[in-house]
């Protein structure tokens, strides 16, 4: 808790930004939705990575640039970053009690997830369209 907290603080002020009961089920729904989508996508992802294991650059580029693997890869990445951003947000609000640190961590979480999503999607698109 920040230092300026006192007995004068209202109960509402003390729990502000900590999440509400009404919004709580949204996280559950998003995690459930994305994990459902990720089940088949993970099978595809693991199959692609297994095929990439012994590939040289030319083979890797050909595989990742092919339509079906590229689409599986992009969908896997997008579902993953959504899933992991919501998941880590709950870890952050559970463990980081200092308000400013928590807000920084929440911002970093979102920036990391969006960054990973953008870079991975751009790379796969590039392999698909610019060989």
């Amino acid at each position: 808790m920040p230092k300026h907290d006192s007995i004068l603080q209202t109960p509402r002020a003390r729990v502000k930004h900590l999440g509400t009961a009404r919004a709580g089920t949204r996280d559950l729904w998003e995690i459930r939705l994305t994990s459902f989508a990720l089940l088949p996508l993970t099978v595809g992802f693991v199959a692609i990575v297994a095929m990439l294991a012994k590939s040289d650059l030319a083979e890797a580029r050909a595989l990742l640039g092919a339509p079906i693997p590229a689409m599986i890869m992009v969908l896997f990445v997008l579902a993953s970053i959504w899933h992991m951003a919501v998941g880590l947000r709950s870890v952050i609000v559970d463990y980081i009690r200092h308000q400013h640190m928590r807000e920084l961590a929440l911002m970093a979480n979102l920036c990391f997830a969006i960054g990973v999503g953008l870079v991975c999607t751009y790379s796969v698109m590039r392999l698909s369209f610019i060989q």
Binding site: V46, A53, L57, V116, V119
Partner: protein, 136 residues
């Protein structure tokens, strides 16, 4: 938890806090629950492995060769094996939660069975993935 004394209220007005993990005897469900969160965070960091691979594959040349050599090295293989196991454990944990969300498997026998089978399932799936990758 850690900052239990930071409450502005006098001690007699504070609400009781729940005891945390260190007070309980370990059970299979508790261990798998904690491992689910730990593997989730590990997989979060692990997305960087995929990012680096895709970027260098798209960029090509020397960087890709270096990344491939790292993934092929002993350390790289250990990291990839750990990533595979974390992924499989998290997937099995997700399936376990799917059973619970259907409001089934809460009795002591079923929940222990679910916890153990998700661990064994993850071990088996990891072995299958690596055996499959080796045969390709």
């Amino acid at each position: 938890m850690a900052e239990a004394n930071s409450s502005p209220l006098p001690i007699e007005q504070r609400r009781p806090l729940s005891p945390h993990v260190q007070i309980y005897r370990w059970s299979a469900t508790m261990a798998m629950s904690i491992l689910h969160r730990v593997t989730g965070v590990a997989l979060y960091a692990g997305t960087l492995l995929l990012t680096v691979y895709l970027v260098t594959a798209a960029g090509g040349g020397v960087a890709f060769a270096q990344v491939s050599r790292f993934f092929g090295s002993a350390l790289g293989q250990v990291i990839l094996f750990g990533y595979t196991f974390a992924l499989m454990l998290h997937v099995c944990g997700g399936l376990r939660h799917a059973v619970w969300e259907a409001a089934r498997g809460f009795d002591p026998v079923s929940r222990n069975l679910l916890a153990w089978s998700s661990l064994i399932g993850a071990v088996v799936l990891t072995a299958l993935v690596w055996a499959g990758a080796a045969m390709l």
